[in-house]
Symmetry: D2
C-alpha cells in the first residue's frame, strides 16, 4: 500500500500547492491513501468546510488537525457531518468530531487514521500515550485495520520520538506535525513502523513558520503585538512523507517529499 | 571559505563519530573552519576539558554549548583558559567564559562565532535579538570579520526562523541546535545568510533525542522517574551543515551533512 | 463537622511545627478531620513512611501529595499499604496508591478526600476537571459521603479558581496547595463550597518557598546550579485553613490558620 | 512615610472601588504616596489615558503595569506624556515609556517606583535581577531617593520571594502583582524591606481572577474558546498593602488592605 502524508497546509499559498500537486502525485505515484494536515489552511488558523472539501477533491482521503482545530468556529459544526475530517483524539470527552476513524481505500483496504496532540510545551490535554493504547486496542493493526497512520501534532522532539517507539510495530506510520519544519530523520524503526519527527508545513518557507515575517519579528524584538499574523504569500513547498507498506501494514520504504517553493526537492525514488 | 557545523554531539557514540569522521572530512572537503556543538558530549550532559580537547584535536576550531553548558561543573573553570570553547552569549553578566569569539583560519581569515540561547520554551535568558545586535555592532561582517557563524540553541522553530531573518545579510550562517533532529529546510535566505532550523544531533538515532529509550518512555507513560538518562550506544549519525561562502562572507552554497548510523546519508555535492 | 487542612509541610522545620501544634489544635478545636499535605516533608522532596506515620500520629487523618509525590522512591511502595496517604488522582492509570479515598471520623461521618494536580504551568497530567467529575459521580456529597475535601495542587490561580467554581455546591472544601504562600481570598462560594486559592506551606517563611535562600538566589541570578536545594531551618509557620461544615456537608464558616514563625497569627474565632 | 499599594484593578468593578475608596483612604490614613497597578483596568486588558487620569485624580501618585501594559494600544502613545504611568523596566530597549521614575511627595520626599516583570511562567523579558541592580545603582535608597517601591509583576512565588531577598535592605517595599490573589505572607524581611508575594487584585472575587466565570470554565473544560473574557461585575474588593516607613526609608510596619466585596476586611491598625 502506498501512503502520502502532507504536513500543515498554511494559508492560500499552501492550499494552491496541494490543489496543484496532489492530483498529479496521486496518479503518478499510484497512491492508495493520502492524509493532509489542515489545521492552518484557513488564513493560518483552522479550516473551513469549503477548504476541507477542496483537499478531499484534490485527492486527500482524510484531513487532520491540531492545536488550531477549531480556530474557524464553523469546524465545530461541520466536523460532525464530515467523517473525513478528524481532530486530536485526546481533546476532552464531548468535543465535536472524532479523533480517529477507519477508512476504506479503492481496493478495499482498511486504513485507521489517528490524530493526537502532544503535551510538552503545548496546551495540556489528556495523555497521548494512553489515548493511542485505547485506539489500538479497539482496532489493532492486522486485525481491525490494514494500515494505521498517526499524525502526532506536537512541539517537542523528545515526545514525538518516545511516541514513535511506544507504538513501534503497532502502527504503519507515525508522522509529527506542528513545528512547520520538515525533519531529515525519517526512518523505519526496529519493529517496522515508519517514523518522521515532522512532516514540515506546506507553505512559503520565506517566512516565520508560514507567516509573513514582519509581525513575528516585531513581536520577538519589541514584545508588543502590532497586528494579526498573516500567511506569507510566496510559492509554497509541499512537504510530507511517502511510505510504502508491506502486506502486514508495516513499513517497507520511506522517503521525504518536498516539491516547489524554496526547499530542495525530494521525491520517493521507489515509485 | 568552507564551513562545517556539527550538531549536538551526544555521549560516547556521538564522540566516536566525530573523532572517526571529522579528520577525514576536514581533509577531503578542504574545510576552513569547523564548529562542533558539544553541550551533550559528556554522558549527554555538558562537556569536560578532555572531551573538548578531543574535538579540537579531531579538527574542530570551536566548540559551542547550550542549555547544558555547565552540567559538568569543571566547564565553569576550564572555559576560562580555553578560548575555543564558547557558551551562550546571553547568559547573565559574570558567567565564566565568552559567548562570542573571533578565530583565525589557516589562511588568515577571521571567523566570528556566536552561541545564543533561544527563550521560547526554554529557561529565560536575556534577549537573543538584542544580544546579536550588540555582537554584530562590535564586529560587523566584512569589517570586523570575514565570516560570522551563529549557533542558535533553541526549541521553537518560530524563534529560530525569526532570528534567521533578523540577521539575514549580516551573518554567514545561522544554524539551530537543541532539538536533536536535523531539519530539511536548509536554504540561503534573501540577503544570503545560510540558514537551517536545526543541525540535528550527532548521536544514535535509535533513541529518544540521543538517550536510551527506556527511561524517557517510562517517564512519558508513568510520569515517575526511575533512573538517570543514559546516552544510547548504537552507531551515531554525524549531523550538520556544510556551507560555502563567497568573498563577502555570505553564503554561496549550503548542504546538509548526515554520515553513518540510521539516517539517510547526505553530503555536499559541491566540494 | 470541623475540618483542618494544613498546607505543604517543608522539611524538618515544617514537621516540627506539625508535631508540636497539631495534637493541641485537634483537641482545642475539637477537630473531626485533619488533612496534611506532605509532598515536601522529606528534605523538601516527597515523603517517607516514617514521616507519614509521624503526621498520622500527630493527628492527621489523611496525608496528601502533589508534583513531588514520589521524590522519595519508597513512597511508590508503602503507599500501597497506607490508605491514609493519597497521591494526585490524575496520575496515569497504574500509578501506585489511590488518588481519592473515603475515611470515617470518630463519630462515624464519611469524609472523601481527593488530591488533584493542576496542569497550568505544571507537568501535564490528565484533565483535573474530568477527574473530579468521575470521583463525585462515584461518591456524591450527601449520598456517598458526608464531607468532601479536594486538595488541588496547582500553580495558576485561574485554574484553581475555575476548579472551585466547577465543584461549587458539590464538595465541602477546595483548597489549593503548591505555591507555598497562604492566600487571603478564603471565602464560601455561592453554592457553599469553602474555597482558598492556597493554604500556604508549613515551613520557614524566611526562605524561598521553604528552601534556604542561597541556592535559589544563585540560580535566579547566575542561571547555573551550584548545589542542591536545602529546606530552610528557621521556625516554621503552620499554615492552613479551618472549615466548619453544616449538616449537609457544605461550608458554614471558614478561617485561615497561621501559627508560629514569621507570619501574622491567624486562628478561627468560631471554635 | 505612609505608603499604600493597590493591586491589579480589574475592569469597571475594580475602578469603581478605587474611585470610591481611595480619596477617603488617602485622607483618613494620611497617605504620603499611593501606587495603583492598572494593567487590567480597561475591560481587563490594559489601561486607557482616561482611566489612568481617573486613578491619578482619585489619589494615586503612580500607576504601574504588567504583562498587559499595551493591550490598549493608546498606552503606547500617551505613556510618553504621562510620567506617572510606568511600565515594566525590563521590556526591550526602545519600548515607549519608562520602567522606573522618581516622584516627589507633598512634603518633598523622593519616591522611586520600579515596575518589573518576572520571567518564570511568563513571556521572557530581560533579567529582572540585573534590572533592579541597575536601577538601584542609579538611585540608591537613602541617597537618590527617600523611599523605593518595586511592583514585581510575576507568576511564580519562588521568583518573587527570591527577588525580595535579593533587594532586602535596599528598597522600601517589594510587592508582587499578577496572580490576582492577595497573599497572607506580608512581612518585614531581615534587612527591613517590606514584602508581600501578591497584593491581590482590586476586582470582583466571585470570578476567575476577576473575569466572569463562564468563559474561563468553558475553556478549562472544553479547551475551545467560545467568546472573549469579560470582567466580572459584582462588587470589588480593593486589595493592597499598607506600609509605614522609618526615617531611612525602610519598613517599620506592614499590613494587608482588603476593603469591600467578598473578602474578609483588612486595614492597618497602626494608622
Ligand atoms: Fe500547524
Ligand atoms: Fe499546530
Ligand atoms: Fe543538545
Ligand atoms: Fe540543548
Ligand atoms: Fe509543595
Ligand atoms: Fe508542589
Ligand atoms: Fe493583572
Ligand atoms: Fe498580569
Amino acid at each position: 500500500m502506498r501512503l502520502l502524508f502532507i504536513g500543515d497546509v498554511v494559508g492560500r499559498a499552501g492550499r494552491i500547492a496541494v490543489v496543484d500537486q496532489l492530483p498529479k502525485l496521486r496518479l503518478a505515484w499510484g497512491l492508495d491513501f493520502v492524509v493532509v494536515n489542515g489545521e492552518n489552511a484557513a488564513g493560518g488558523f483552522g479550516v473551513t468546510e469549503s477548504i476541507c472539501d477542496q483537499f478531499l477533491s484534490a485527492g486527500a482521503d482524510c484531513v487532520t488537525l491540531g492545536n488550531h482545530s477549531f480556530d474557524q468556529r464553523e469546524a465545530l459544526v461541520f466536523i460532525a457531518r464530515q467523517p473525513r475530517l478528524i481532530r486530536p483524539v485526546n481533546y476532552p470527552r464531548g468535543t465535536p468530531g472524532k479523533g480517529a476513524n477507519l477508512f476504506e481505500t479503492a481496493t478495499g483496504a482498511r486504513v485507521l487514521v489517528v490524530n493526537i496532540l502532544g503535551r510538552v510545551f503545548m496546551d495540556p490535554l489528556d495523555d497521548p500515550f494512553a489515548a493511542i493504547e485505547r485506539e489500538l486496542e479497539a482496532c489493532p493493526l492486522g486485525v481491525g485495520c490494514d494500515a494505521a497512520i498517526v499524525d502526532f501534532h506536537g512541539e517537542a522532539s523528545s515526545e514525538k520520538q518516545a511516541f514513535g517507539h511506544f507504538v513501534d510495530g503497532r502502527v504503519s506510520l507515525v508522522v509529527g506535525t506542528h513545528t512547520h519544519v520538515p525533519t531529515a530523520d525519517y526512518q523505519i524503526l526496529r519493529q517496522r513502523t515508519a517514523y518522521m519527527t515532522d512532516a514540515g508545513m506546506t507553505g512559503d518557507y520565506d517566512s516565520v513558520i508560514g507567516m509573513d515575517k514582519e509581525e513575528p519579528l516585531r513581536r520577538f524584538t519589541t514584545k508588543i503585538p502590532a497586528s494579526r499574523f498573516e500567511p506569507a504569500s510566496g510559492p509554497a513547498t509541499l512537504c510530507g512523507v511517502a511510505v510504502e507498506l508491506d502486506a502486514r501494514g508495516l513499513a517497507a520504504k520511506i522517503a521525504p517529499v518536498r516539491i516547489g517553493g524554496r526547499l530542495t526537492e525530494a521525491r520517493p525514488d521507489f515509485w
